[in-house]
């Protein structure tokens, strides 16, 4: 083929998990204005924001009240015990970053007057019951970030 040159092009053999495919939020004050949530979590406290002006309890935690637009919010504790509202188990179809954990249980938990989704760490689907009590649990990632889960007491 005349003067056509054939050459190789290179791509890196492995790529570090890019941060936008990392499900966990960036927690430090350089990256978020609700860093206090994670600071409290490191102390074993699950908290959220409450509007000082209209009194609305806001989940997820935020910096502006969606009800009255006030930015005077305070941190309140939700407690450490919840009640299981609904649950399932991720058997097939787990995303990258969680595949190694599958199968694992996921639930919606009633806590502190809210419903929040969370992983349930120490029980399979067959071992869970609607309405049963669950205990807060904190997991730490290898880079020091933390997140909440629940467990059967």
């Amino acid at each position: 083929m005349g003067n056509v040159e054939f050459d190789k092009a290179c791509r890196p053999e492995t790529v570090k998990l890019p941060f936008m495919l990392d499900f966990y939020p960036l927690e430090d004050s350089k990256n978020t204005m609700i860093g206090q949530f994670f600071t409290s979590l490191k102390q074993g406290r699950l908290t959220t924001t409450k509007c000082k002006k209209c009194g609305k309890l806001l989940w997820p935690p935020r910096i502006v009240c969606s009800n009255c637009l006030s930015n005077e919010l305070e941190w309140v504790d939700l407690g450490t015990e919840g009640e299981l509202y609904a649950f399932t188990e991720m058997k097939l179809g787990a995303p990258l970053g969680f595949v190694q954990d599958a199968p694992f249980s996921i639930g919606i938990v009633k806590i502190g007057g809210l419903l929040i989704s969370a992983r349930i760490d120490n029980a399979k689907y067959d071992q869970l019951k609607m309405g049963e009590n669950l205990q807060l649990k904190i997991v730490e990632l290898e880079d020091g970030r933390v997140f909440y889960r629940f467990r059967k007491p």
Binding site: A94, P95, L115, S117
Partner: protein, 387 residues
């Protein structure tokens, strides 16, 4: 507001296609234009492209001008891509409808494309996990199957809905998709097949879930006064509705009663000057079997909590109270996110034109609706059509 008509459209076959995002767009574009022979590409002044996640699935943003170039369209009124996840195509139709109704556009194409099969399917599953609030729900691996599994669990708990009733939805929709040449799963299934299929997220099994799908489709919308220039058999937009409440899973209005769907349905029926019972044919969003059961209830075709009984009695089959998903649904045809609503709409047009096979033809249908939910069923979008 001007009355708006759909004068034609076309689509690709859906499924695991040996084709790229661009191939799918071209295939559907060619089919769409060939269906409206009196229209040239240059007549299209507006193009709205429904695409949920081209950045993730095909590493491509700015897809509306990409489609315009490939299809030889030169938009000069309105050009945009709509993203409303599973309802991205319905958003494209709603947007195109608004453009034509307002007088801004005289010929608008509502188009939809999704390429979902990837070499590593875990990557596709990953994409689907940033649909719910990624930092508070996605982080718990809450993609669609676990979310709708918990919805099903609550519905079974509160209303006594059974897995057999849910399975019947899959049986019905596969019965019709078996007669649809565009369907991803053109094969009938039995209740037993559904109950024996692999467990995805209990109580949902594989045949309770719609698929990962490649596909594309487009329809042409014009002012009703111009419709007969293009076809003897247009279909008219007669009503619509859309509503949203909350986003994070814990902030939904109600997990087992889709309040935003009731609101959107009420708006759709009011604008169309009809009642729920006037609907002859409904293409509704059966992303999971439980979804369709809850939709019977929210549309008011049966009492709250009696959706399971409604299908047990055969009411949503052709010949029953209302023909639900005679196209074959998302369960039978697949769910190429951005293209899904366009495929539903196109099938309604073909129903009105009498172009569908006998076993899934709804004879004498005058009023039809297309519905999509998106996210954790916090958003519902509906269009109502008539002959």
């Amino acid at each position: 507001m001007r009355k708006v008509a759909i004068v034609g459209g076309g689509a690709t076959r859906c499924g695991k296609r040996e084709a790229s995002w661009r191939d799918l767009a071209q295939e559907a574009g060619k089919a769409m234009f060939e269906n409206v022979p009196n229209l040239s590409q240059k007549d299209v002044d507006s193009l709205i492209v429904g695409a949920a996640q081209p950045e993730r699935f095909a590493f491509q943003a700015h897809v509306a001008p990409l489609v315009a170039e490939y299809l030889g369209i030169m938009p000069r009124k309105v050009l945009a891509r709509t993203e409303l996840m599973c309802a991205s195509g319905q958003a494209a139709i709603r947007y195109a409808y608004a453009c034509v109704a307002s007088g801004l556009s005289d010929v608008a194409a509502a188009f939809g494309v999704e390429k979902m099969f990837m070499p590593d399917m875990a990557e596709a599953q990953t994409n689907m996990t940033c649909v719910l609030d990624r930092e508070w729900d996605g982080v718990n691996a809450l993609s669609a199957p676990p979310f709708f599994a918990m919805t099903a669990q609550r519905h079974m708990f509160e209303y006594g809905t059974t897995k057999e009733q849910m399975a019947l939805v899959s049986v019905k929709n596969h019965r019709y998709s078996a007669l649809n040449p565009l369907a991803q799963f053109p094969k009938e299934v039995t209740v037993d097949d559904v109950l024996k299929s692999v467990m995805i997220a209990p109580p949902l099994q594989l045949l309770d879930c719609s698929g990962i799908t490649d596909g594309a489709a487009g329809v042409i919308m014009v002012p009703a006064d111009d419709a007969k220039k293009y076809t003897d058999t247009p279909m008219y937009v007669v009503g619509s509705g859309q509503a949203n409440i909350g986003n994070t899973v814990g902030n939904l209005a109600n997990m087992t009663e889709w309040i935003p769907l009731k609101m959107a349905a009420q708006e759709a029926f009011q604008t169309a000057h009809i009642a729920a019972d006037d609907v002859d044919l409904a293409e509704v969003h059966d992303c999971f079997t439980i979804s369709e059961i809850m939709e019977y209830e929210a549309f008011g075709w049966c009492e709250k909590g009696k959706g399971g009984k409604f299908i047990e009695e055969g009411q949503p089959f052709i010949g029953g109270k209302v023909a639900v998903n005679p196209r074959g649904g998302l369960l039978g045809c697949g769910h190429p996110l951005g293209a899904t609503a366009i495929l539903q709409t196109l099938d309604i047009l073909q129903q009105f034109r009498g172009e569908v096979p006998k076993g899934r033809y709804v004879e004498g249908a005058e009023v039809a609706l297309a519905h999509n939910l998106s996210g954790p069923a916090n958003v519902h979008s509906i269009m109502v059509y008539s002959r």
